[in-house]
């Protein structure tokens, strides 16, 4: 195929950088560890959608059958699922990170690190006293379990796993004879590292009491969460993420996976904050950019916002190749998977088709962002649906059952097509002529 970049420049210079990011164990551990709570997020969202669906007939019917408090399950379901993402991630990230290290050529068992990380997380969080006199109870505030404090949990998890694996690698453990059952041995392996980690976080807790922040969690919220969150929620931050993602894909590297390992924590926190406001009936939600805004809205039929162009290829393409890519891509495309387009058309290392591939998601994202900011489109409520949810349905669900969300996705669908159309027409014609010339 002519016109496709054939030099090895990118393979040699670019690939090692991508490999380094893609293999960066802390980023991987963050991504994989947070994913532990993904099923809970989706389940919790389902219950919230059920309770909040803004259809009067439905709401009235449910109230008439089950009484006015019919949707009381919403709070309990959300608290026990979406509400514990920080706790689950504290375990998941420490587990994933510790497991990525090895001692004597054998991978470390990550479970003790995960357990210690949950304990450490609870140690650094302040227990408050509520009420007065004999009725006073000591308790943790429930928001420390939720996404509000996710960043604190992530920091604790990484620090715990790093201390844990260092001690194991330095052989600071109690080793029992081989005849002792592995589960018993495991509890002893964790003992010395566990004591050291606990003491460490007790000291952290004590130390921060003398700082202006008063406790460790507040310190992390101010120093880390605020700036990262502000950058990741802004138009500019999202634009950079979108460009990096599609630029990587254009060179055949899984840009989505690499980009989301950095952005997903931010977008999940934004989603959860929107959800909190949405559940309490707020009229204006805090964030435009959330997990669903990007992974359901911008990934229209997959990276590169390719759904509309796939429909075009399927129906109107003249060349065999383009038509075949359309046929292979339409069903996966409905579920936002489009590797056949990326590698088959191809877009990878193809300087001509890279242009619409990179521009169309930027256009979609820009329309969605400013359309939402100007009040034309509804905010995403933060309910988490899988990124494989078919387009248009996702627009309805992610905005809490608003037709405006579907209209937003229809506008995006047409806008992406407008970007793609001139390019795909030329590419189709070129391939058609090539096929004619080669007598196929």
């Amino acid at each position: 195929m002519k016109g496709i970049l054939t030099n090895n420049f990118f393979e040699e210079k670019f690939m090692p950088i991508a490999a380094r990011i893609g293999n960066q164990r802390h980023l991987l551990a963050l991504r994989d560890g947070i994913m532990f709570s993904m099923p809970l997020l989706i389940i919790g969202s389902l219950f919230i959608i059920l309770a909040e669906l803004p259809i009067d007939a439905y709401q009235n019917f449910m109230a008439s059958v089950f009484g006015d408090n019919w949707n009381a399950f919403e709070g309990a379901a959300a608290n026990g699922t979406i509400g514990i993402i920080a706790l689950i991630s504290a375990f998941g990230v420490a587990y994933s990170l510790a497991s990525s290290y090895a001692v004597d050529g054998k991978n470390i068992d990550g479970i003790p690190a995960g357990v210690l990380s949950v304990a450490s997380y609870l140690i650094v969080n302040i227990v408050g006293t509520f009420g007065t006199g004999d009725d006073a109870v000591e308790a943790w505030r429930t928001d420390i379990f939720s996404s509000q404090y996710l960043f604190v949990a992530l920091v604790v998890a990484i620090v715990t796993a790093e201390i844990y694996r260092t001690l194991l690698q330095k052989k600071l453990v109690i080793t029992l004879p081989k005849t002792v059952p592995p589960t018993v041995a495991r509890s002893f392996t964790a003992l010395i590292p566990g004591i050291i980690i606990t003491v460490f976080f007790l000291l952290v807790r004590l130390g921060f009491a003398f700082t202006p922040w008063a406790d460790f969690a507040t310190f992390i919220q101010e120093i880390l969460k605020k700036p990262i969150s502000a950058a990741g929620s802004s138009y500019l931050g999202t634009l950079v993420a979108c460009l990096v993602e599609h630029f990587l894909w254009a060179f055949g590297i899984h840009g989505s996976s690499i980009m989301t390992s950095v952005m997903e924590p931010v977008w999940l926190v934004n989603a959860a904050e929107n959800l909190e406001a949405f559940k309490s009936g707020a009229t204006k939600l805090p964030h435009i950019v959330t997990y669903t805004f990007y992974e359901n809205g911008v990934w229209m039929g997959g990276s590169g916002a390719t759904l509309s162009v796939v429909v075009y290829m399927l129906i109107f393409a003249k060349s065999k190749l383009v038509k075949q890519v359309g046929r292979l891509s339409i069903v996966p495309g409905l579920f936002n998977i489009n590797e056949p387009v990326v590698f088959g058309l191809p877009i990878v290392l193809n300087p001509f088709l890279m242009i619409p591939y990179i521009i169309s998601p930027v256009v979609v994202m820009t329309i969605m962002y400013f359309g939402t900011a100007l009040g034309i489109f509804p905010y995403t409520t933060g309910v988490i649906i899988p990124w494989t949810t078919p387009y248009f349905i996702s627009g309805y669900l992610m905005t809490g059952g608003k037709i405006g969300g579907v209209i937003m996705e229809m506008v995006a669908f047409l806008a992406a097509f407008a970007v793609w159309f001139p390019f795909i027409r030329i590419w189709d014609k070129k391939n058609y002529n090539l096929e004619l010339a080669s007598g196929e």
Binding site: A19, G22, I253, H254, L328, P332, E339, V342, F343, P346
Partner: protein, 106 residues
């Protein structure tokens, strides 16, 4: 039975190719078992894999996989981009089985 595993970021797009390869294997009467997994699962399943094929989008993992798992898995390859995009299951199957058998005979 030769156990072939395809891996990509989430094991989703490769699972489409798995079906195409299974069809090709059935047609030609190869004794193979083909499955798709996500990149995260590779390490834990290394003992149950004879041929490991990486989706081209995670080809940056090839070096790492070969150095870590090369002693356990005899063939570790990246799937050709255009064969992957056009879901050319038969061609990929023939290619990797060829590599596998030539490794066996060595």
């Amino acid at each position: 039975m030769i156990r072939i595993i395809l891996a990509c970021a989430e094991g989703m797009s490769t699972s489409m190719l798995v079906i195409k390869m299974q069809e090709a294997a059935q047609k030609k009467g190869h004794e193979v078992e083909i499955n798709a997994i996500s990149e995260v699962q590779i390490k834990s399943k290394a003992d149950e894999i004879d041929i490991l094929l990486l989706g081209p989008q995670i080809r940056y993992l090839l070096g790492k996989m070969r150095s870590e798992l090369g002693s356990k898995i005899s063939v570790i390859e990246v799937i050709n981009m255009s064969d992957y995009g056009l879901m050319n299951g038969e061609k990929i199957l023939d290619h990797v089985l060829g590599l596998y058998f030539s490794n066996q005979n060595r």
